[in-house]
């Protein structure tokens, strides 16, 4: 079964600095998808970035980028120029294909709480 591990329950960063959140996963698939979601205090789950495993190029969305190491099964999130609004829980997720019906099951890690200090 696919599992997702986030080894850092909490992280903190100074405003304008860079922080990296770690995620590792376990799978026997060769083609899959990975995601980072952000959950601010408002509770809304927001998609931050996605990565397709067959693409070697690391995904980037503005200040957010990933370091995808397929052989190591590692998928870390780098936040550059951290802002106060980046403070949230961050969840790493793996997409498990369901063989019937076209469902896509996301398996989530336990999350990392990011604090941004002014």
């Amino acid at each position: 079964a696919q599992t997702v591990t986030q080894s850092q329950p909490e992280m903190s960063v100074q405003e304008a600095e860079t922080v990296t959140l770690s995620c590792t996963y376990d799978t026997s698939e060769s083609d899959y998808y990975l995601f980072w979601y952000k959950q601010p205090p408002s509770r809304q789950m927001i998609l931050v970035i996605r990565q397709e495993a067959y693409k070697q190029q690391n995904a980037t969305e503005n200040r957010f980028s990933v370091n995808f190491q397929k052989a190591a099964k590692s998928f870390s999130l780098k936040i550059s120029d951290s802002q106060l609004g980046d403070a949230a829980m961050y969840f790493c997720a793996y997409s498990v294909g369901v063989t019937q019906g076209g469902s896509e099951k996301l398996v989530f890690g336990k999350g990392t709480k990011l604090t941004v200090n002014p």
Partner: protein, 118 residues
């Protein structure tokens, strides 16, 4: 326009009661989901429906019954509520279609329903 809307946002009820949470999406997605987020913020899938058909039914007590009257709606009914049911329940949708379905789009989440059983 809200893409995935859940009602109510907050629900406080006594043990033993029956309650429902409603979810609607206006994205035209074929697949909808219910996830439970416990007090430690861990997200776990409960159910998924593809075009009104139940696809995923994880190990969930029989007291939980999803109903999908059409592909834009997925409601969750809970009978005989227990203290342990207190959690945040998220509805989500994705673009999965067809037998094998496309993967990798991730989910669009609703804003969650905080259920408190007293």
């Amino acid at each position: 326009d809200t893409a995935v809307s859940q009602t109510p946002k907050y629900l406080v009820t006594q043990m033993g009661n029956d309650k429902s949470i409603k979810c609607e999406q206006n994205l035209g997605h074929d697949t909808m989901y219910w996830y439970k987020q416990d007090s430690k913020k861990f997200l776990k899938i409960m159910f998924s429906y593809n075009n009104k058909e139940l696809i995923i039914n994880e190990t969930v007590p029989n007291r939980f019954s999803p109903k999908s009257p059409d592909k834009a709606h997925l409601n969750l009914h809970i009978n005989s509520l227990e203290l342990g049911d207190s959690a945040v329940y998220f509805c989500a949708s994705s673009q999965g279609t067809g037998w094998t379905g496309p993967r990798g789009y991730g989910y669009t989440f609703g804003s969650g329903t905080r259920l408190t059983v007293v």
